[in-house]
């Protein structure tokens, strides 16, 4: 904790509103029906940062992201979420999305019945456009080739690209990536990493959930570890990598 506090002080020197972080999650509790899954998660992110959210299967990482994106399932029962001065916890899913929060879900959720291009066009229907199609296609030539194919018939990796591209098609402030590398060949992982760096350059803030902790931490500034819906570690990526006990217990690396 102290490390973060120190870093915040350093940043504070440069900015006016030091107290309000870019994105803040304050003690959120979320339920699937009656099962209590997210049990008081708190975290802060500064603008342009990449935060790795780590933990074992079933720790509640996906649930936390879904609660932040306001999907309604799990239902947020208490706690606050602030994007700058906007109270995300009072919003509904589409309002959060319009405020600039984009979730790339773990199972990609490419929409059946729509072609690759339609999937992208759909992302630009609501106000707040991001990259245009040309820019997307130039980053993802694979998608350009397949633009008229039905989205769901893409290979697993191609679908992942489409899901990331769909988020980029929106005006992004906070990107939530749920296991973006899953099922991707190492070459593509590198490609996506490059894109994430690019995104970071643009000042977009990212939370990344990833089982491939090594790859995730390579990219991230800071890390949070969840266990049974609670935060058990917050700190810099380096701190985590330097702590063999944490590595062994939660990351098995």
């Amino acid at each position: 904790m102290s490390v973060i506090a120190m870093q915040e002080d350093i940043v504070a020197a440069g900015t006016v509103q030091a107290e309000t972080p870019f994105f803040a999650v304050r003690d959120i509790h979320a339920y699937y029906g009656e099962s209590y899954i997210v049990q008081g998660v708190t975290m802060d992110i500064r603008q342009g940062e990449i935060l790795a959210l780590l933990g074992r299967n079933g720790a509640g990482k996906t649930s936390t992201l879904r609660a932040i994106a306001r999907t309604g399932n799990p239902a947020l029962k208490s706690g606050e979420i602030w994007l700058r001065d906007k109270p995300v916890h009072t919003m509904r899913d589409f309002e959060a999305a319009r405020a600039g929060i984009q979730l790339v879900p773990e199972d990609r959720r490419i929409i059946q019945g729509l072609s690759v291009e339609e999937n992208l066009v759909l992302a630009q229907v609501a106000p707040g456009r991001g990259w245009d199609l040309d820019r997307i296609y130039s980053h993802f030539p694979r998608l350009a080739e397949r633009r008229n194919q039905e989205g769901v018939t893409l290979s697993g990796g191609e679908q992942q690209m489409l899901a990331v591209a769909r988020a980029l098609a929106r005006d992004l402030k906070l990107l939530l990536l749920d296991e973006p590398y899953e099922g991707l060949a190492p070459v593509i992982v590198q490609e996506i990493e490059r894109i994430l760096y690019d995104i970071k350059e643009l000042g977009i803030t990212t939370i990344i959930v990833e089982q491939n902790a090594v790859a995730a931490l390579r990219l991230s500034d800071r890390a949070v570890i969840l266990d049974t819906g609670q935060v058990v570690f917050t700190g810099t990526a380096k701190e985590l990598l330097d702590n063999p006990q944490l590595r062994n217990e939660y990351l098995a690396i």
Partner: protein, 342 residues
């Protein structure tokens, strides 16, 4: 030969009507994915918009003459229509054209009914099972039906077409035949053109805007569509409202052909489901094609010659065709993959 021609004409007309009646259902059922057993009730409510409108403009002042008694023993009533009193000739025209003019009443009324229905009830059922959708919409249909019955009674209430459109047009003469060989009711021609118009308008709306795509996507995966910033709930409401208006207008214009009663909707319910499914779930052109196909085949199957060969064919033709088409083409004429298949 003339008979065949006449039946073809009739089939086209019937098909147009089927397509129009099924159109509203396709929007809700084929696009929003709600098995809407209240569709027939919406059609019926549309028809009763026409009845109400006519009732309003033919309102009469009733004065009772206590001196005289009617033959059944009640005091004699003297009635004077208001519209004619106040508006003179224009009032008479208004009454004459009450059916087409009641469209103006039906559009806002049906829109409100549709929106209220969606917001109040249907909204909560998108994510429920089809079975539960059936139960709730069927219940709703019964309730609407009973309300209409308690207001308007159980007997059909005839709605005349405007005087000028009441008779038959000598269609044959237009095509260069002898007079009186091929005549066809004017109002049916009007209904046909009206169907084409409405169908065209709905197509244009869904085709030239992204609205249709968004709604389709929302039906497949509501959550994801919400996550990319689309307020899908509002669009579903609009879609449902449009569907209610389309169903209602189909009902309004149908009244001169079929005197409406509270039960009208149920009679058309099964037919519209068959048309939509034979056309293929989620396909508007499919529903229209199926409407025409069934209309034409039904007309031909009703010819005495055909019935002589296969007795009873006219009774079952619609269902027989439905079976054959669904067995030959897995998703009806133009169905989309994955729409309501599980």
């Amino acid at each position: 030969m003339n008979v065949i021609f006449a039946q073809l004409l009739n089939g086209l007309d019937k098909g147009g009507a089927y397509a129009l009646i099924a159109l509203g259902l396709t929007l809700v059922f084929g696009t929003l994915g709600v098995v809407n057993f209240a569709h027939g009730a919406l059609f019926m409510l549309g028809a009763f918009c026409a009845v109400t409108f006519r009732y309003l403009i033919t309102l009469e002042t009733v004065t009772v003459d206590p001196e005289k008694l009617s033959p059944w023993g009640a005091p004699l009533e003297i009635r004077t229509p208001l519209a004619q009193n106040w508006l003179g000739d224009f009032g008479a025209v208004l009454i004459d054209y009450s059916v087409p003019i009641s469209i103006l009443l039906a559009i806002p009324v049906m829109l409100v009914i549709g929106v209220v229905m969606e917001r109040g009830l249907i909204k909560h059922f998108y994510r429920r099972t089809h079975a539960e959708q059936i139960l709730v919409t069927f219940g709703l249909a019964i309730v609407l039906q009973e309300i209409v019955r308690s207001v308007f009674g159980a007997n059909p209430i005839p709605q005349p077409a405007p005087q000028d459109l009441r008779g038959a047009a000598d269609f044959g003469v237009w095509l260069g035949m002898a007079p009186n060989v091929l005549t066809y009711p004017l109002w049916r021609l009007v209904y046909f053109l009206f169907s084409i118009g409405i169908i065209g308008a709905v197509f244009a709306f869904l085709h030239f805007t992204t609205f249709g795509m968004v709604v389709r996507a929302g039906m497949v995966d509501r959550e994801t569509v919400g996550l990319i910033g689309i307020d899908i709930g509002r669009r579903f409401t609009i879609m449902f409202g449009i569907a209610a208006v389309v169903a209602g207008l189909a009902g309004v214009m149908y009244t001169p052909l079929l005197p409406p009663n509270y039960h009208l909707g149920m009679d058309f319910l099964v037919l519209s489901f068959v048309v939509v499914v034979v056309g293929g779930m989620g396909s508007l052109p499919g529903a229209v094609a199926a409407g025409f196909l069934l209309g034409i085949l039904q007309s031909f199957a009703s010819m005495t010659g055909v019935k002589a060969i296969i007795p009873g064919i006219d009774q079952i033709i619609i269902y027989l065709v439905a079976v054959v088409i669904l067995l030959v083409r897995p998703r009806g004429l133009m169905g989309r993959r994955g729409v309501m298949e599980s």
